[in-house]
């Protein structure tokens, strides 16, 4: 199996008012298919920048980054969008669900950009909600659900396109610890089914559950294992 994501000496420098600010200074990392990696580090360590790059939301200013075997420096914005749609699933700390939109339609959103019709979207979304344990919440709106339920909806949305990598940015950050545990357990069960999971967190206990940890500091990997 080819690696899901390969980063080779990847750097990312921001230009702020004419001053170059390096956020990543040469990071090499491989996410294998079915991997379970935690990226840890304090804020400002570059872990969020790294996650944006791994998810195809941003492009490196140096080095080579392959996502799903494709070199992101050679992709057009439309191809990047397609890559995010097909290969990556995002889970955010603050869920990022569309208000006034049912759980089912939130989950079906990525399928819209694949040109799939409404009926099929709803069927697939309902099935995916069943898989994350929310079969009874299909037509509920985000404000009618608890934080843990909302994050499960977000995970279902990330999974609905059948991605090879799930990128989770502080997925338990806005949840109490019991709910957080159950969300992690869900991610792990998905990982067991073969989806690679990359978890960005500053919580050592959360990170400890991953198969391996990558510690970021000052834009570099300071420890990997």
């Amino acid at each position: 199996m080819t690696a899901a994501i390969v980063a080779d000496d990847v750097s990312r420098t921001y230009e702020l008012d004419g001053v170059s600010v390096p956020a990543l200074r040469g990071v090499s990392l491989t996410v294998e298919a079915g991997d379970y990696v935690a990226i840890v580090g304090t804020s400002g360590s570059g872990k969020s920048t790294l996650m944006h790059l791994l998810g195809g939301l941003d492009r490196p200013t140096g080095g080579t980054l392959l996502i799903g075997g494709r070199d992101v420096s050679k992709l057009t914005p439309d191809e990047m969008a397609e890559l995010r749609n097909t290969t990556i699933g995002f889970v955010f700390q603050s869920f990022h669900l569309l208000a006034r939109t049912t759980a089912q339609d939130n989950v079906g959103l990525p399928l819209v950009y694949r040109g799939i019709g409404r009926r099929e979207r709803r069927e697939r979304a309902a099935a995916m909600l069943g898989r994350v344990g929310l079969a009874h919440r299909v037509t509920h709106r985000p404000n009618q659900m608890s934080g843990g339920e909302q994050q499960r909806v977000a995970i279902a949305r990330a999974l609905v396109t059948g991605p090879s990598v799930l990128l989770a940015d502080e997925p338990t950050g806005n949840l109490d610890s019991a709910t957080g545990q159950s969300v992690l357990a869900l991610l792990e069960s998905l990982n067991a089914d073969g989806v690679a999971v990359v978890l960005v967190t500053h919580d050592r206990d959360v990170a400890a559950r991953a198969h391996r940890q990558i510690v970021m500091k000052d834009g570099l990997i300071s420890a990997a294992g």
Binding site: R84, V112, Y113, R118
Partner: protein, 394 residues
């Protein structure tokens, strides 16, 4: 599929901000309504005037001294009844030739007076211009040749002087001279706010004596057929030019009058539409403004959509549709409002209004175009948003 979703999202966004959407639309509604209503009034006026000119008949030829063109001063008429004899010979049928000498005079009947347009005419007037009598009889050839003091009243003049009484056989005075009423015209109604029934027809000879002059102001000829009207016009002008070498004469046909009037009223309608169009443009600026606000408000949503695979184009189209939906909904409501206003004006005021499909279609099309034009900038801005920055926005 993507487009259907974009429509749904756009509709939902407008519904979520009902008041704001309504207020934004109001600019477009007023603009479109103004275009539709003003064009309807312009068109209605044009149609009314054209109908009146057409009512004269297409074979009518009007001959006046002087040149008919912008900036030429009115010429005092050298024409007399002797010229009419010459023209009668050219035309070959004296019933086809009418003359007029007009003067505003005070007309009195008993204690009632009114100001009326006195027209000195030949007995041929009702055949040359199509005019029907409501009652009584018109002037006869003998009345004209003897200068008999008899008068035929316009419907308005008759009403003002006699009310409900029958004017036939009664005495009136015109400019202090006594006349006997022998007939009353059918009413013509108003045109551009001018009462067309405020006239008094008397024999041209009697009018000339009253005014102390030999002149006549103009000649009207009903040509036997339409094809020969140009030929006839040339012959008449040549005859008059020979008899009055110092004066220019102009002959105009109904078609030429229609052409000139059409041009003038077309320009007028165009100016009205342009003024209304400006308010439509201002409405468009309002749409643009609100769309920029909408993009800013929904930055996070844009970031999320991009993260799950929306292309810049998908986001752009979504916001463009929202703008177009705003302006076309406004356009439809504006069309209804404008049409309603035009119908009200037509029904309740003397100003005529005629709805035209082209103005409705144009106004609607322009409102859709306004949505596209003024939606493009906000849509592009939304489409180009950096997903990383957008997701981080609170």
């Amino acid at each position: 599929m993507r487009l259907a979703e974009a429509w749904r999202v756009a509709l939902e966004a407008l519904r979520a901000n009902r008041l704001r959407s309504m207020l934004t639309m109001l600019g477009v509604i007023i603009g479109v309504a103004a275009v539709v209503a003003l064009v309807a009034i312009g068109t209605g006026t044009k149609q009314q005037i054209e109908n009146q000119v057409e009512g004269l008949g297409s074979n009518l030829l009007l001959v006046v001294p002087g040149r008919i063109e912008a900036g030429s001063a009115p010429t005092s008429s050298p024409l007399t009844l002797d010229d009419i004899d010459a023209i009668n010979r050219v035309v070959g049928d004296r019933t086809r030739v009418a003359v007029t000498i007009a003067s505003g005079e005070t007309v009195r009947a008993g204690s009632r007076t009114r100001f009326a347009s006195m027209q000195g005419v030949l007995e041929t007037t009702p055949t040359v211009f199509v005019r029907n009598l409501d009652r009584g009889t018109y002037l006869t050839r003998t009345d004209v040749s003897t200068g008999r003091r008899v008068a035929v009243l316009g419907a308005g003049t008759a009403r003002d002087l006699f009310g409900d009484r029958d004017p036939i056989g009664r005495q009136i005075t015109i400019g202090g001279v006594r006349f006997r009423v022998i007939g009353v015209f059918e009413p013509l109604g108003q045109s551009l706010g001018v009462d067309r029934d405020g006239e008094v027809h008397v024999p041209v000879t009697a009018a000339q004596r009253l005014l102390g002059t030999e002149r006549i102001d103009g000649i009207a000829i009903r040509a036997p057929d339409r094809e020969r009207i140009g030929e006839l016009s040339d012959a008449v002008v040549a005859t008059l030019a020979e008899r009055h070498p110092d004066t220019d004469f102009s002959a105009v046909t109904q078609e030429q009058i229609l052409g000139v009037l059409g041009d003038i009223l077309g320009v007028l309608t165009g100016v009205l539409a342009a003024i209304a169009g400006i308010s439509l443009l201002v409405g468009g600026v309002g749409v643009s403004n609100i769309m920029l606000v909408s993009v800013r408000e929904r930055t996070k949503e844009i970031g999320l959509r991009k993260a799950v695979g929306a292309r810049p184009r998908d986001i752009g189209v979504q916001f463009l549709l929202e703008a177009v939906l705003l302006t076309t909904t406004g356009g439809i409501l504006g069309m209804a409002l404008g049409a309603g206003t035009a119908l009200l004006v037509d029904g309740l005021s003397p100003v005529p209004a005629a709805l035209t499909w082209w103005s409705m279609t144009l106004a609607f099309g322009v409102s859709a175009a306004v949505g596209i034009v003024f939606g493009v900038v906000p849509a592009q801005r939304a489409g180009r948003l950096d997903p990383v920055v957008a997701l981080r926005t609170e």
